[in-house]
Subunit: 172 residues, 2 copies
């Protein structure tokens, strides 16, 4: 719970390298996400070349600050086909859960992260030679934070949680 | 990493109650997921009434075993509107990340879980009085496992991860 509640979206990064071993552990956390029918539709592109990070930043309005690395989480459509009509939807969920594993893992290593969905998909595909059947869904930025932001406001459990029927309030 | 790698999809449950305090902690983990533009599009319906769990099981082919509780994770479409054209996609991601937080939290409490996307959405909405603008996306089953399953096979990092361009292999 400490890790889950402590993680923050970080948008200001120190100019400090992330060790290769730490990046590997973060990527490894991703592949242990749940995957519907164990399809594992994901492809992860690690970007640790600073020049490429800057190029991607230019086509990604949602990318703030200058992170030291990015992970681009993609869905491989060819793998989704096995999932039938639920395949596409499950793939988005699988990739999102993998992203959350990565961000929690990063935080537990003292590394900040931010999920980014606002980017030019076509430009990103060109920059990273991503083939037709692979779709980038989400970018995670990574770097040591200049500071850990304050927690965002959150709707309380009493508002979000319903018990045994919609509108039946949750009591602690 | 121990929690991330240890979590399993559990489909056989003991007939053992989950303490209310533990359910609260699991739900609390959900509201600390990242949320694009802090929209928090989620509504969570906790189902701990055994009769209702059985009724939901009847309309959910993806629900195995007899869990002691369910959490139905929904998107509130009215909240999504603030997100513009990316709103719907972000909402699926937010809810998926909340689900992953919940499943990791459950595991850290010794409680098994399984994400379920195969259910009759209309029947579920009727059983839980879910209004028109709220869409159930995912069910998480919860219960103490009869045993922890073996880890599923996973595509290795060398296959899943590309470095600075698609197809450029990752080396440990």
């Amino acid at each position: 719970m400490e890790i889950i509640k402590g993680r923050r979206a970080v948008r200001n990064f120190l100019d400090k390298e992330i060790a290769g071993k730490d990046l590997e552990v973060i990527l490894e956390a991703g592949i242990w996400a749940p995957s519907g029918s164990n399809i594992q539709p994901w492809e992860f592109i690690l970007v640790d070349d600073p020049v490429l990070v800057k190029k991607i930043k230019l086509v990604s309005p949602g990318l703030y600050g200058l992170p030291r690395a990015l992970i681009v989480l993609c869905v491989n459509r060819k793998r989704c086909e096995k999932g039938g009509k639920l395949g596409e939807n499950m793939a988005v969920m699988d990739v999102s859960m993998a992203a959350q594993n990565m961000m929690l893992m990063a935080y537990s290593l003292g590394i900040g992260s931010c999920p980014i969905v606002s980017f030019n998909k076509l430009a990103l595909k060109q920059l990273l030679d991503i083939p037709e059947h692979v779709e980038p869904l989400l970018i995670i930025s990574l770097g040591y934070p200049t500071e850990w932001p304050q927690p965002p406001s959150r709707r309380p459990l009493e508002e979000v949680v319903h018990v045994n029927g919609y509108g039946e309030p949750f009591k602690r």
